[in-house]
């Protein structure tokens, strides 16, 4: 095109600006499809608002940056921040290294997962820093392999520094207009190329949610080239875009890349996935999730802590709290997310390992668990984070494999729970479950359950969630964990009553109400510990619940612990058959049976509507229990919860039903 040599100054200024923007834009393009934290595919936080969908196309408003080169990109704060540094001088090259970080494949996937969560959190909060100095902080102690898989070099050589010759192409200088047009094309090419190179596949895999990867991508931006070793260089291929000549110099863009990355990808991802899969597949947890897809959101909200949410989403939101599913020990994940890493992990880690090992005697385990819980609560409650709940469960040196599994998975995998409940007799789970249910409904168990749930609800309330949502969320949380257990225990009726109680309770529920019951429970804790039988089962139930439900309420920590202990004590033995269900009821203390009955009645009376909704889940769960152990266990847990809620509600509301009074009495008597 016509070269405007007349206005050299203005021209050069324009060119200068174009080049500056070119640096910015090219960095933006590269990072957008290489940096997981920045990428459009992985929007989070504010970015989501601006452009949720994959490509920049989603955002309708045109921003000043978008107009440059007529290429509208997604919001990419980190990239832009970095770019500003480059503006100071166009003379320096911009080198963008894309780094593949591989974790050792032999690492325990469980351990990896929490860290990954951390890393992500990091990246979100500190994108800027991350961009410049990616990997280092994320995996501090771990052995990691870093490898530069791409090196992008954007460079503007001014003619002065370069020799007079303009490289081989036409010497004729380019006007700013022409430069602009050419750089538009060059950036379009860059945009396409970035997506064609093998590293893009890694990036895509990283951003596909729900997968654990043994690798991560990082990037480094600097103004100098850190030379490769010969071997490294031999592995790389170069792709150079045709440089653009201008009046004052030449603008060039090139990339060195690893042509073969597919191997890396496959290796890393496969092992982990296989390990994880077993837990999820067929586990009751998955089903519950599907049932209540909406729930996860609410649960996430309650935690309120960003990391927490992330974590959930990553592992599957609903269980997020419990989500550690991926990781054997839920606690570690929590600790990480909440920032208690050191303490939490230390406490929690042992449990994870222990669970796998042969079980201890139930009694000892129970007691230890209870103690741990108490301690954990005290310590952690003060802090808003969930840590308390996880810690208690993990610490459980859970005697049996079942317990340990249950604990570990408790959050994530229902199956484990069921096994735990089954304890001695795996085949009889349903029957075992049944006996406990009456007790739960009865006096204390109900309360305990309520307590457990109650904390969760209050938190939800705090988060401004509507009562209904809270209830649902509670269900989900509890449901997965407790649902199976409860369902097995309870006959359909029971489940109804529980459900109804929950609902009603939740609606009415206020934070203040809960505190009282919990306080009462605290005293009882010691007693609970002494009771071995029900304890195991109850514990299991309670523990899984804890993470989700307890954390929010600080007030009633002790009370909650007490309630949990009670639950455990009162919980019917897992070993009993369904047939024995009635028998077990009879055998159990009168109070319990009465209370259960009463609860049922009251619930029926008060909340028929609620029953319908709640009952559906309970019913299904109960039926399932017969055939499925884990699912049953979960359902049972739910049933327990419901019972608790009912009891709590009733206790709180003495007004409603005469039955309530009875129940309360029975409960109080038990506690005392």
């Amino acid at each position: 095109m016509a070269s405007s040599q007349s206005n050299i100054h203005s021209e050069s200024a324009k060119i200068e600006q174009i080049i500056t923007e070119f640096f910015t834009k090219s960095l933006h393009i590269i990072l957008e499809s290489r940096s997981p934290c920045v990428s459009s595919r992985n929007y989070s936080g504010e970015q989501i608002l601006s452009s949720p969908s994959s490509s920049s196309s989603s955002s309708s408003s045109v921003k000043p940056r978008d107009k440059w080169f007529n290429l509208a990109l997604r919001v990419c704060p980190s990239a832009l921040e970095n770019i500003d540094l480059w503006r100071q001088s166009n003379q320096e090259p911009m080198v963008v290294d894309v780094i593949l970080i591989q974790r050792p494949t032999d690492l325990d996937p469980v351990r990896c997962s929490p860290r990954r969560g951390l890393a992500r959190n990091y990246s979100l909060k500190e994108r800027f820093r991350n961009c410049w100095n990616p990997g280092q902080e994320e995996y501090p102690s771990e052995v990691k392999r870093e490898k530069i898989i791409e090196r992008w070099i954007v460079q503007y050589e001014s003619r002065k520094s370069r020799d007079s010759s303009s490289g081989g192409k036409r010497t004729g200088s380019t006007s700013s207009h022409s430069l602009y047009k050419k750089s538009i094309i060059l950036l379009r090419s860059l945009y396409v190329t970035v997506r064609l190179l093998p590293a893009y596949k890694l990036f895509r895999d990283l951003n596909s949610s729900g997968q654990i990867h043994t690798f991560n991508l990082d990037h480094r931006v600097c103004s100098f080239v850190e030379p490769f070793t010969r071997r490294e260089e031999a592995e790389m291929q170069q792709f150079g875009f045709m440089p653009i000549d201008t009046n004052g110099g030449r603008l060039s863009l090139s990339v060195l890349y690893h042509p073969k990355l597919s191997d890396v990808n496959l290796e890393s991802s496969t092992p982990i996935s296989t390990q994880l899969i077993p837990d999820y597949v067929g586990s009751p947890m998955t089903d519950p999730l599907k049932r209540f897809p909406s729930l996860p959101v609410t649960t996430h909200v309650s935690p309120s802590s960003a990391p927490f949410c992330r974590r959930h989403s990553w592992s599957y939101d609903l269980y997020g709290a419990s989500a550690p599913s991926a990781s054997p020990s839920p606690s570690p994940t929590y600790s990480d997310s909440r920032g208690f890493p050191s303490n939490m992990t230390s406490n929690r880690l042992p449990p994870t390992s222990s669970p796998h090992h042969p079980p201890e005697t139930p009694l000892s385990s129970n007691t230890s668990l209870a103690h741990n819980k108490n301690t954990s609560f005290d310590e952690y409650w003060p802090s808003p984070t969930f840590s308390p709940s996880p810690s208690p469960s993990p610490p459980t040196h859970v005697p049996g494999d079942h317990l340990s599994k249950a604990l570990l998975r408790s959050e994530s995998a229902p199956v484990s729970i069921s096994a735990a409940k089954l304890g001695g007799s795996p085949g009889l789970p349903t029957t075992h479950m049944l006996p406990p249910s009456p007790s739960l409904k009865g006096t204390r168990p109900g309360l305990q359950i309520d307590n457990v749930r109650a904390p969760a609800r209050p938190a939800d309330v705090q988060t401004c969630i509507t009562a209904q949502k809270i209830l649902y969320a509670g269900r989900d949380e509890v449901g997965n964990l407790s649902g199976a257990k409860i369902s097995s225990n309870s006959s359909p009726r029971i489940s109804f009553s529980r459900s109804s109680s929950r609902l009603s309770f939740q609606d009415e529920f206020d934070g203040s109400d809960f505190a009282c019951p919990f306080a009462v429970d605290d005293d009882d804790l010691m007693d609970l510990h002494t009771r071995p039988e029900s304890f195991d089962g109850k514990r299991l139930l309670s523990e899984p619940l804890e993470p989700g439900g307890l954390f929010p309420i600080r007030k009633s920590q002790d009370a909650a612990v007490g309630s949990l202990v009670r639950m455990l004590k009162t919980a019917p033995p897992l070993h009993h058959d369904s047939n024995s269900f009635k028998l077990s009821r009879a055998s159990e203390p009168e109070n319990r049976s009465k209370s259960t009955k009463e609860a049922e009645e009251t619930s029926d009376l008060e909340v028929k509507e609620v029953q319908n909704t709640a009952s559906c889940s309970s019913f299904t769960s109960s039926r399932l229990l017969m055939s499925k152990t884990t699912a049953d266990a979960l359902e049972e847990l739910q049933g327990y919860r419901e019972i608790k809620e009912l009891l709590l509600r009733q206790s709180s509301r003495s007004q409603t039903v005469a039955n309530d009074a009875h129940v309360a009495q029975s409960v109080s008597g038990d506690t005392k």
């Binding site: 990109l73 379009r188 045709m242």
Partner: protein, 218 residues
């Protein structure tokens, strides 16, 4: 202005792959020639491990799909033939005064020839593919063989896309001033072989140019 012509490397495709291959190629080319404001849209190919970029222009997408349909129709009528699709960019002479008149003249400044060699397949499998969906033929072919072939095609397609990128970057001086600030900036045209074998070629294109309306202004 001279007309730059790019002959893209020939691809061996099966019938059901035509659509995806053409999508990748056509959109990639147009994206490079859409010098107006564009919000790129990443598209993961349904068939290949390839992510290509669209301009986010619904009109353009529609047009491309139409042309692909036409082409597939033609292929079905003319099995076992090498076929060619031409994407050309042109300028309209006297565009200010006679933009919409039939007498406007098109000056072609760039042409892309996409060369496909469609392997013959039993028609049953792909009988009629829908616009949006790629018809995957269950096929009786050995899966292994198929996967190998697919991988080869994918690599070749990737190569073609790089060929586009290279060409676009090497030939930059023939591009006329950008008439449109919005999206797809240059008028373009996609030509497929017509029913008569001889009809496809520059002559035909020129004839069409004389009478045709500018296909796309925006």
């Amino acid at each position: 202005m001279n007309c730059e012509v790019c002959q893209l490397k020939e691809l061996e495709v099966e019938h059901f792959e035509i659509r995806e291959v053409l999508r990748c190629i056509l959109h990639t080319i147009v994206f490079h020639r859409a010098l107006g404001l564009v919000r790129p849209k990443d598209i993961d190919s349904e068939l290949f491990e390839i992510t290509y970029v669209q301009c986010g222009d619904a009109e353009l997408e529609k047009k491309i799909e139409e042309k692909i349909d036409q082409f597939i129709g033609w292929v079905e009528k003319h099995p076992n033939k090498k076929s060619q699709i031409c994407l050309s960019f042109y300028e309209v002479k006297n565009k200010q005064a006679t933009w919409f008149s039939n007498k406007t003249e098109r000056l072609y400044w760039e042409q892309w020839y996409i060369n496909l060699n469609v392997a013959q397949q039993p028609k049953a499998h792909f009988a009629k593919s829908h616009h949006s969906k790629v018809v995957v033929d269950p096929g009786e072919c050995a899966l292994v063989e198929r996967s190998v072939r697919r991988a080869a095609l994918e690599a070749a397609l990737r190569e073609v896309l790089f060929q586009i990128i290279k060409f676009v970057n090497e030939k930059r001086d023939h591009i006329p001033p950008v008439p449109n600030v919005e999206g797809v900036s240059f008028p373009y045209e996609i030509t497929i072989p017509s029913s008569s074998d001889s009809s496809f070629g520059m002559d035909v294109i020129k004839r069409m140019l004389q009478t045709g309306h500018p296909t796309m202004l925006s």
